[in-house]
């Protein structure tokens, strides 16, 4: 007896990156600049803390919201780094990566038919999460002229009386764009005036290469309407530990915690103990990795200049987003041909939304040696186009 499965799920397109990587997986000796994952291993003192937690037999569940000590460390860290004030026990929730927090936040806030504004190009999960929550995604196509920042005018144009949430993903995957304090203030004004919630995904906050990173939650009038999301994957190279967190006013966190408690129970305990060590003693590691990413970022930007590939200077995350429109190919055609001819994998910008068409996402979470080889291949490839 076969019943038809959920139409809502069936109709969700699989991620464009997935399709591309299925092809990459079939090829041998591919140099991949495709995956958004730090090439560093988790710093040893953090891993050691995880091992110690195993030795002590800390193999139990934690409370649904997460270890008390970790939540306290999270609030101390947010105060210290970003001047954010959250109460550890009533305004935080430890999640399985930032991605779970995104899903929870959307589900906790929207009713059927509410609109969720999503600036694209962006990380691939916001749209499906909104659809699964019976909300309506409303896309804003960000522009390279604005360095892929969101402007107040663009936001105003997209708002309707059904607008419930703005998703604010900066520093941005895939463009590397950031929002500076002045940009955020403009956006905050609109959000307050139109009375909309903000889900700010700041997983790449530590990887900001121009000035200090600012959070929209810091702006007066914003904390009460903001879900702040961060995690350990990018800053501490802890992707596989699957650990993130959300901070928000208690009314929202309470609802998010309900969904989390029924779907997940609690985030992995060993990871939570290791994360305490990361927050307490990881500043030096973050600084070291950031400096290394920055050197690779500068290397790529200079290299693109050398071969005349237009690229705005990205100041965040670990991606560059060069424009390939002058070659009269779609992003996917370019990426496929590059893969076939030179065995280098980069991700077509179109995988992150229509406004990513004509661009490539190149990750520099790879060693400089790899980047150098890939760049020589790119140079040879474009010289023949």
């Amino acid at each position: 007896m076969i019943h038809k499965l959920s139409e809502k799920v069936i109709n969700i397109k699989p991620s464009g990156i997935r399709k591309f990587f299925d092809l990459v997986a079939e090829k041998k000796d591919v140099i991949s600049l495709g995956v958004g994952e730090p090439d560093f291993d988790t710093p040893w003192h953090i891993r050691e803390e995880g091992i110690y937690a195993f030795e002590k037999g800390r193999t139990f569940y934690t409370s649904n919201s997460g270890l008390k000590d970790l939540r306290i460390e999270i609030t101390k860290y947010l105060k210290r780094r970003y001047n954010l004030d959250y109460d550890a026990m009533s305004e935080t929730l430890v999640t399985v990566g930032g991605s779970e927090a995104i899903d929870l936040a959307i589900r906790a806030i929207v009713n059927d038919g509410d609109e969720v504004i999503i600036p694209e190009p962006c990380y691939v999960s916001y749209k499906p999460c909104a659809i699964l929550a019976n909300a309506k995604p409303v896309v804003i196509d960000l522009k390279v002229e604005n360095e892929f920042r969101l402007t107040a005018d663009e936001l105003l144009d997209a708002t309707t009386d059904k607008t419930k949430i703005l998703v604010l993903p900066f520093p941005n995957n895939p463009t590397g764009a950031i929002m500076e304090e002045k940009d955020l203030k403009e956006i905050a004004k609109v959000c307050i005036e139109k009375d909309i919630y903000v889900i700010t995904d700041e997983i790449y906050a530590e990887l900001t290469y121009k000035g200090k990173h600012h959070s929209i939650a810091e702006i007066p009038g914003m904390k009460e309407r903001t879900v702040y999301i961060n995690g350990f994957s990018k800053a501490y190279a802890m992707t596989g530990w699957r650990l993130g967190y959300a901070c928000a006013p208690n009314e929202i966190i309470r609802q998010m915690t309900k969904i989390h408690q029924f779907a997940i129970m609690c985030a992995p305990t060993i990871s939570q103990y290791a994360a305490i060590e990361a927050l307490k003693n990881g500043d030096r590691d973050v600084e070291m990795m950031k400096e290394s990413y920055n050197q690779r970022r500068l290397f790529l930007i200079e290299s693109f200049k050398e071969i005349g590939l237009p690229c705005f200077e990205p100041f965040g995350a670990f991606y560059v987003f060069p424009c390939i429109k002058k070659y009269n190919m779609t992003s996917e055609e370019f990426a496929m041909k590059f893969l076939e001819e030179e065995n280098v994998a980069v991700v077509p910008g179109s995988a992150f939304g229509d406004s990513g068409e004509g661009f490539l996402r190149i990750s520099y979470a790879y060693s400089i040696e790899n980047l150098k080889v890939a760049f020589e291949k790119l140079k040879r490839f474009v010289s023949k186009l």
Partner: protein, 160 residues
């Protein structure tokens, strides 16, 4: 830029000047000039190669020798250190705080070579009070580099 440049070439002195320039956001001429300055100022003291000799057929024995000495008036430990480091087979000499004064590393082809250096050259120096010799059995990590590091990647592709 100076410290960043030093940090980069400390890990890899073979890195191209053009790459260094790109990574630090300066011109190649800037890098060349800075390197020359650093050499002249004696901040860069050499460009060496880290070799895992165990993987070659060449026999090498490395000794670590703790040396207790009587410091000299006016010169302190410097003169004695100099008498020791002038031997080419001596690879390093450090002044150490604690139970002994100088830590000397020595490389020889044979165990006997080390033994005779200690008994004939080192112990006979007037200021040397006593020595304790240790032999290195295996080098796991040197100068921040893990020998025999298995670089095989186990990472899988993921959609993000």
């Amino acid at each position: 830029m100076r410290e960043k440049l030093l940090g980069l070439i400390e890990r890899n002195c073979k890195i191209d000047v053009s790459d260094l320039a790109k990574m630090l956001g300066v011109t190649e001429a800037n890098i060349v000039e800075e390197l020359e300055k650093l050499e002249k100022e004696g901040i860069i003291c050499g460009y060496l190669t880290l070799i895992n000799w165990e993987k070659t057929s060449k026999e090498k024995v490395t000794g670590l020798i703790e040396v207790r000495v009587t410091p000299q008036r006016e010169n302190g430990f410097d003169k004695i250190a100099e008498r020791i480091y002038n031997y080419p087979e001596v690879k390093s000499v450090y002044l150490i705080s604690g139970a002994y004064d100088l830590l000397v590393t020595l490389e020889e082809d044979t165990l006997k070579g080390i033994a005779s250096f200690v008994s004939e050259k080192l112990s006979t120096i007037d200021e040397v009070i006593s020595t304790a010799t240790h032999f290195i059995l295996k080098k796991y990590k040197d100068h921040g580099v893990v020998f025999d590091n298995n670089l095989k990647t186990e990472r899988e592709t993921v959609t993000l």
